[in-house]
């Protein structure tokens, strides 16, 4: 791990740990925005870390930013950090200035709700062909609700037109849906890693029939299945990030394909991971007294966010069918070898 990434993650862990106190989550369930924690995240430069240094950002790699997203998942961060971070980067890349405060981000991957609608400075709209823009959140007629994690969300029936001067053609970077797909996969990977950790701790400590649950073969087999899903979701997310980082021009298909596969796999795994975690935790896991629910409820929200598994599976299926049988293997092993096919 680079020194830069280590530094960034140390900061992220410190901030996210503070934001994962019981009082914060209780307040979130009541609909109260954890303002001070959001400000700490802003003040430490996390929302602008992708921006180049001359634009007052930290100029970190996409991979570094995604490592932060994964850490956010591991702490069940109840804040729209990745949306804001990627939204601000998209606007800057298109030469637009961003409104202050947290952002919602509407991509082409069927996004139909945003977190914390009443707190947002704006909604970044990057769901069209080649254009990005933003509207002030106050201009949007939100239909308010909560997601399965108990976080406030806003939906809309129609978005207002983007005012002149607040839209432009997209910059040269990967599409918003690809970046958000990668970020959401990373968050799912982080939360999954946490759930595995909580489950191992529980089965090692909980004694029934005179021995720890971990001593029962039936329990061991279930944990092994969960660990397999956690491992594959993690490595798939990391590998997709590598594909996005090595994107240049022609490589676009490779990054889009990798992220589509990673988010499809991550969303699909949420069922098995949460099912086994709750099965092994027993009744205590089905309460608000144990931490497990913070993570499983977010997995149920995040598997649908930024395109659910059905959406991404269909994208992958389309790409596979377009490649045809002979092109399927080159598609799977990446753009460089696809080049050899031509």
């Amino acid at each position: 791990m680079s020194e830069m990434r280590q530094l960034l993650l140390d900061t992220a862990v410190r901030l996210f740990e503070a934001a994962s106190e019981d009082e914060v989550f209780e307040a979130v369930e009541e609909g109260c925005f954890p303002e001070s924690h959001w400000r700490a995240i802003e003040d430490n430069g996390l929302v602008d870390m992708l921006l180049p240094e001359e634009a007052a950002g930290a100029g970190v790699d996409f991979g570094d930013a995604m490592a932060v997203a994964r850490t956010a998942g591991a702490f069940a961060l109840p804040l729209p950090l990745v949306e804001t971070m990627i939204g601000r980067w998209l606007l800057a890349d298109a030469g637009l200035s961003a409104p202050p405060g947290p952002l919602g981000l509407v991509t082409g991957a069927g996004v139909s709700e945003v977190l914390w609608p009443a707190e947002l400075g704006g909604l970044v709209i990057a769901d069209g062909e080649g254009a990005v823009g933003w509207v002030a959140a106050g201009e949007v007629d939100f239909d308010s609700s909560t997601n399965s994690a108990g976080e406030p969300v806003g939906r809309w029936s129609a978005l207002p037109p983007i005012p002149p001067g607040q839209s432009s053609s997209l910059g040269s970077g990967p599409p918003a849906s690809v970046q958000m797909g990668a970020a959401r996969s990373a968050m799912i990977a982080g939360a999954t890693e946490r759930i595995l950790d909580l489950t191992i701790e529980h089965v090692q400590g909980r004694v029934q029939f005179g021995r720890p649950l971990a001593r029962f073969q039936a329990v061991q087999q279930l944990v092994a299945i969960m660990a397999s899903h956690a491992a594959v979701v993690g490595v798939a997310s990391d590998t997709a990030v590598l594909a996005v980082e090595s994107t240049h021009g022609e490589g676009d298909r490779n990054a889009a394909f990798a992220v589509a596969c990673a988010k499809a796999r991550a969303s699909e795994a949420c069922y098995e991971v949460t099912r086994i975690a709750h099965q092994l935790h027993g009744a205590i896991g089905y309460t608000r007294e144990h931490d497990l629910h913070r993570f499983t409820r977010r997995l149920w929200a995040w598997r649908d966010a930024d395109g659910d598994e059905g959406y991404w599976q269909q994208r992958v299926g389309e790409m596979a069918l377009r490649s045809g049988g002979a092109g399927l293997w080159p598609l799977l092993v990446g753009a460089r070898s696809a080049g050899l096919e031509r």
Binding site: V13, E17, S20, A74, G190, E193, R194, L196, D197, I200, V203, Q204, A214, R215, Q217, V219, Q220, Q221, V223, A224, I225, A227, S228, A230, A231, V232, G234, V235, A236, D238, T239, V241, L242, S246, F257, A260, C261, A262, A264, R265, E268, E309, W312, Q313, Q314, R315, V316, G317, E318, A320, L321, R322, G325, A326, L328, W329, L332, V333, R336, L340
Partner: protein, 385 residues
């Protein structure tokens, strides 16, 4: 709440340019030999056995790739070998003639063999001329391999073998078999007293090979009986008593390879060929589901390959990849079956492969470590047992 503990290490890895550049060479060789009638993709995938293709691959330097040049290898990296094997699998090339020797026997001989054994066996393996079978399981020892009873007793100039091995694929055709045997009686130490011996199947007395027809109706399984079969001293592999450690040290290589999720890739490819862009959204999702899972499995497998290349022994990670990979392979025909029915696919190529794959599927989660055993290994890696 602290950062979660990382329980399993899967670092993402990209294959180096040197490895990627081998792809086109493998594809060219396969294209030429197929056009030349050397082989055809008969649906058996790597389980098919074709000495002519193995010789062609050997001549091109694609067998024993990681071994020293003095023993016929080409001193390539493990990741370069990874690319070659996955290309062979993706093309559905029949490689069982050299597969076991290339994957595990050769590396064992290289690591534990005498100088004389390395010079005698490795070059012809690398040329694709010498075929090996693997003799591990016995009629009463499947998953519980440490309970084997075949014994080798000291005699003048060598060892005398008595007992039997089972599920020994291609023992009726291979020249040699490496067998795990007891060289000392059973003791309290379950894993002690075992050794590996190289058995000449063609030129030894006291060896009987009984064919076992498998579920799809093919003959590759055998039961091999040893009745006072003689193994000369120079065919003991490694030190007497080290057999268990030798066998288990190769497991990461045996388990994490792409044959654990690409064995029926030809079925998926045929399905993609039979469908077109106008396939229903449901069919597109099913194809996408299989392809995304395959992509993710490969990412995990490449990560293990990179760890092996770095000199690590990712036995737990390998067991995990094998478990997920073989379960995926087992699900492929079931999903294809439904898509084919829903979309009214009448393409005989898909239907024919589907029929074969359904029959082969039960074997995936048994050979090379049964699912339950692999999950036990993962559980031990997580310190649950």
């Amino acid at each position: 709440m602290k950062a979660p503990t990382v329980h399993l290490r899967f670092s993402p890895a990209a294959l180096p340019e040197a490895a990627e550049s081998l792809r086109s060479k493998v594809r060219e060789l396969l294209e030429e030999t197929r056009a030349g009638g050397v082989w055809l993709a008969d649906g058996l995938s790597w389980w098919g056995r074709n000495p002519a293709l193995s010789r062609a691959l050997g001549a091109a330097g694609f067998i024993g790739m990681t071994w020293p040049r003095q023993y016929g290898g080409s001193e390539r990296s493990y990741l370069e070998r990874y690319v070659v094997t996955e290309e062979l699998l993706a093309a559905c090339a029949p490689t069982a003639f050299h597969w076991f020797a290339d994957r595990q026997i050769g590396p064992s001989i290289l690591r534990y063999g005498t100088e004389e054994q390395k010079q005698r066996f490795l070059p012809p393996i690398a040329r694709g001329e010498l075929s090996f079978a693997v003799g591990m399981s016995e009629p009463d020892s499947g998953s519980d391999l440490a309970s084997i009873r075949t014994r080798a007793e000291r005699t003048d100039g060598g060892w005398r073998l008595n007992g039997s091995k089972i599920w020994t694929s291609y023992a009726h055709e291979a020249e040699y078999c490496v067998a795990l045997v007891r060289t000392e009686p059973k003791s309290d130490k379950r894993h002690a007293g075992m050794s590996q011996v190289i058995v000449d199947l063609k030129n030894s007395d006291g060896i009987t090979v009984r064919p076992i027809i498998d579920l799809p109706g093919r003959h590759d399984f055998n039961e091999v009986f040893f009745e006072d079969a003689f193994v000369p001293d120079d065919c003991l592999l490694g030190n007497p008593g080290d057999g268990w450690a030798q066998v288990t040290s190769e497991l990461a290589y045996e388990r994490s390879g792409s044959e654990r999720f690409l064995t029926n890739f030809h079925l998926l490819r045929a399905l993609v060929d039979a469908l077109d862009w106008s396939a229903s959204p449901g069919a597109q999702r099913e194809v996408g589901r299989l392809v995304s899972r395959l992509w993710a499995l490969r990412a995990a497998s490449v990560s293990v390959a990179a760890a092996l290349q770095a000199g690590e022994t990712p036995n737990v990670e390998s067991a995990l990849v094998k478990d997920l990979g073989t379960n995926f392979q087992q699900e492929v025909p079931e999903i294809v079956r439904r898509v084919v029915a829903d979309e009214g696919v009448a393409d005989e190529v898909v239907l024919d492969i589907l029929r074969q794959v359904v029959l082969a599927a039960p074997s995936y989660t048994i050979q090379g470590g049964a699912t339950e055993i692999l999950r036990g290994i993962v559980a031990r890696g997580l310190r649950l047992r």
